[in-house]
């Protein structure tokens, strides 16, 4: 039976008892298939993938250098910021001290001015008072003179024989003077 089946299997064409014998048509199909796939890979798939790998390498390297650059920039910015902060602090303290000094100076100046003003006002007042006093003195002196002459003329005009009478005249004059009946008149004018 074994022999019969082998014979039966080999006679029509392909010997199915010999799996190690390649089938010619399959060999051809295999060569064609390999050729097609190899050609597709060689011309399209592998070049584009390799190009992408190169781009990626470049991108990663570029990214790293960019990151380093950014870090350096950030560090520089931080340093600058710190420096500016320090500067601003010193400036602020300077300004504060200046302001204090200036304030003190202003207060001192104002006080001085106020004192000077006060002195000036006092002096002016004193001068006015003095002038008025002088004027009053001059006026009074003139009036006293005129009154004196007036009194003297009256005394001279009247008889000065009686001391008592004379006493009475003076008293009358003074009372008249007090009552305002006698108008002051300028003698020397």
């Amino acid at each position: 039976m074994v022999l019969a089946s082998v014979v039966a299997a080999t006679t029509p064409g392909w010997p199915d008892q010999l799996p190690l014998l390649p089938h010619p048509a399959e060999l051809i199909v295999g060569v064609i298939s390999f050729g097609i796939l190899y050609w597709l890979y060689k011309t399209k798939v592998v070049p584009s993938l390799e190009k992408m790998y190169e781009e990626r390498t470049a991108a990663i390297e570029g990214g790293i250098s960019k990151a380093e650059e950014a870090q350096a920039q950030a560090q520089a910015a931080l340093d600058q910021y710190n420096a500016q902060l320090q500067e601003a602090r010193t400036e602020a303290s300077t300004i504060r001290e200046d302001a204090k000094a200036q304030g003190a100076a202003i207060v001192a100046e104002l006080r001085e001015k106020a004192q000077a003003e006060a002195g000036r006002i006092t002096e002016a007042a004193q001068k006015t008072i003095e002038a008025e006093r002088q004027a009053a003195l001059v006026q009074l002196r003139g009036e006293v003179g005129r009154l004196s002459t007036d009194l003297a003329s009256r005394i001279v005009g009247e008889s000065l024989e009686d001391e008592t009478r004379q006493k009475g005249i003076v008293e009358r004059f003074l009372s008249e003077l007090e009552a305002g009946e006698i108008k002051p008149e300028r003698v020397d004018s």
Binding site: V6, G13, S33, L37, K44
Partner: protein, 281 residues
């Protein structure tokens, strides 16, 4: 198992004969055999028949070509989902196989070849367990022979170019620094390695693994089905169910073997190429 089943199994395992009427009634078991691997579509039982594995191979080329060209048309530095998958496969061949074995200096010119080998073998192996196809193309020895021939020719040509001529190439096969009496022995051994052992083992390893794996699955599935439906008693029926379940386990095992064989085939090809381009032996 009854003696009749055993005897018919052993008979048919040898003969691979067609189902025959059993005298005792019912059909006898037809064991899976070599004949299950020849499956002509057009052209009948001849040397020039267009077979189903050929069709599967062409389909695999179509799928691979379409997928990789479509996926690599617009590549970006930051990969998307599909590009990530492509890069996983390509990176495996490129870095793990080609770069590590051949070395950074020469590996790039062999990338198309190695990538073709790997994807072609992998997809056609996986067809062994993909539903509706369920036939590993590489269990037809013609295809491993074609791939092996390509590798064979390429590594010899590359070796001849790298060593600068036939005589230096032959000389380079013998490792330097051997005692004089060993040199002829080594020369014969190396010659056999380079010209016979490498190609034969490369092709047969892939073919044998795929062939045996598929046959194993056939035995468990067809045999289990027969035991379940025609076994005749509960014990054999249970054995049939167990056989069917075990075939599922074997399918996962096949998945491992299929990937592993694709990897082994490609890495051996890379190894031979590395040997050819290297300066010394």
């Amino acid at each position: 198992m009854s003696p009749t089943v055993l005897s018919s199994l052993s008979t048919h395992l040898l003969s691979g004969a067609l189902p025959a009427a059993d005298g005792g009634g019912g059909t006898s078991f037809v064991s899976p055999g070599v004949s299950d691997f020849f499956w002509p579509l057009i052209g009948g039982d001849s040397n020039w028949a267009f077979t189903r594995p050929s069709a599967v191979l062409l389909i695999s080329v179509g799928i691979l070509g379409w997928f990789f060209i479509a996926a690599t048309r617009k590549l970006t530095v930051v990969p998307g989902k599909r590009q990530f998958l492509v890069e996983q496969v390509y990176g495996f061949v490129r870095n793990t196989i080609a770069k590590d074995v051949i070395g950074t200096k020469d590996f790039q010119r062999f990338l198309p070849l190695l990538f073709t080998l790997f994807t072609m073998v992998l997809v056609n192996n996986l067809f062994g367990i993909i539903p509706l196809v369920q036939f590993p193309t590489m269990s037809r020895i013609a295809f491993p022979i074609v791939l092996t021939l390509v590798v064979y020719v390429v590594y010899h040509v590359v070796g001849l170019k790298a060593k600068g001529g036939v005589i230096p190439y032959i000389k380079s096969m013998v490792p330097p620094g051997l005692p004089g009496w060993v040199i002829p022995l080594m020369f014969v051994l190396e010659l056999a390695t380079y010209f016979v052992i490498r190609p034969v083992t490369l092709a047969l390893r892939l073919f044998g693994n795929m062939f045996a794996g598929h046959l194993l699955l056939l035995v468990f599935i067809v045999g289990g089905e027969y035991l379940l439906l025609h076994g005749g008693n509960i014990g054999l029926g249970a054995a049939g169910i167990a056989s069917g379940l075990f075939s599922i386990v074997m399918t996962f095992f096949e998945l491992l073997v299929e990937f592993l064989q694709a990897f082994v085939f490609t890495i051996l090809a890379a190894l031979y190429l590395a040997d050819a381009v290297s300066e010394e032996h």
